[in-house]
Subunit: 136 residues, 2 copies
Amino acid sequence: MNDIYALLEENNLSRTPCRVEILKTLSRADSALSESEIRDQLAYSYDRTTVYRTLRSFLSQNVIHSISLEGGEVRYAMTPGKDKPHNSHHVHFYCNNCNGVFCISHKPFETPVLPKGFQPENFDLLVHGKCKNCTT
Amino acid sequence: MNDIYALLEENNLSRTPCRVEILKTLSRADSALSESEIRDQLAYSYDRTTVYRTLRSFLSQNVIHSISLEGGEVRYAMTPGKDKPHNSHHVHFYCNNCNGVFCISHKPFETPVLPKGFQPENFDLLVHGKCKNCTT
DNA sequence: GGTATATTTGCAACTTTGTTGCAAATGTAA
DNA sequence: TTACATTTGCAACAAAGTTGCAAATATACC
């Protein structure tokens, strides 16, 4: 709980109930949540717009990050180790079975050689498969 | 043009003007297009629903594939080498400058070790940076 | 604690996208 | 050319993205 207050303070975000609630929800979530899942899991119901805007401001401060799935679905999760030096390699895992999305911590991974003229800056890898809960 | 007819035939899709148009549009596109970009570039205007459904059927036949960007934007592009053996590694490049999305052909790339219990099936890598047209 | 100021919320409104049902139009095969 | 299977356009509605504005709330200062 203090972590959440600290996180808000670090990012110059005032401590409002909606913000605290959303961070609590995302913190306790096992996997990344969609906007509507977040809304459904809030203890108190906030306006759609408020949740939308709160997510925007968390995103812009890098308090949370979004993961875009096939077909355009978007999920949100706490940004792990926000304070650590910027990491340009991100790995997420999508479970074909339970539809869960997990942030995978990892060392920078090998990246493919790109055609002449392409200058890479960062890498988002989405791995599809079966997650730890679904591989019996 | 004959390629397009052949592609439709191979996939048991009847040769309708809308389908031919959409494939022509995607074929001549340098980068992946959004649904509305496709609609705008068609020589004749088809109903939104028709374009939507046409894209669905192309997707399900793997004639085209979709790329999901940050924030949930979706782009579509021809599936290169649809007939080649299934490739579980996909690489796309998003240009931060011109917003173009490019399919990158490549050899299978090294993938990071996943935590215990996660069973990978395929890998989608989205590289952000500057594309060949924008690196002066 | 009380107040002034800067933020955040809720609500209305509107755009775009995703999606379905249905009847009319079109493609395909015989 | 007919007969049947598909595809299209249109109406309709849900969900998501987005903005403006006034009311409610948080934060800083006395």
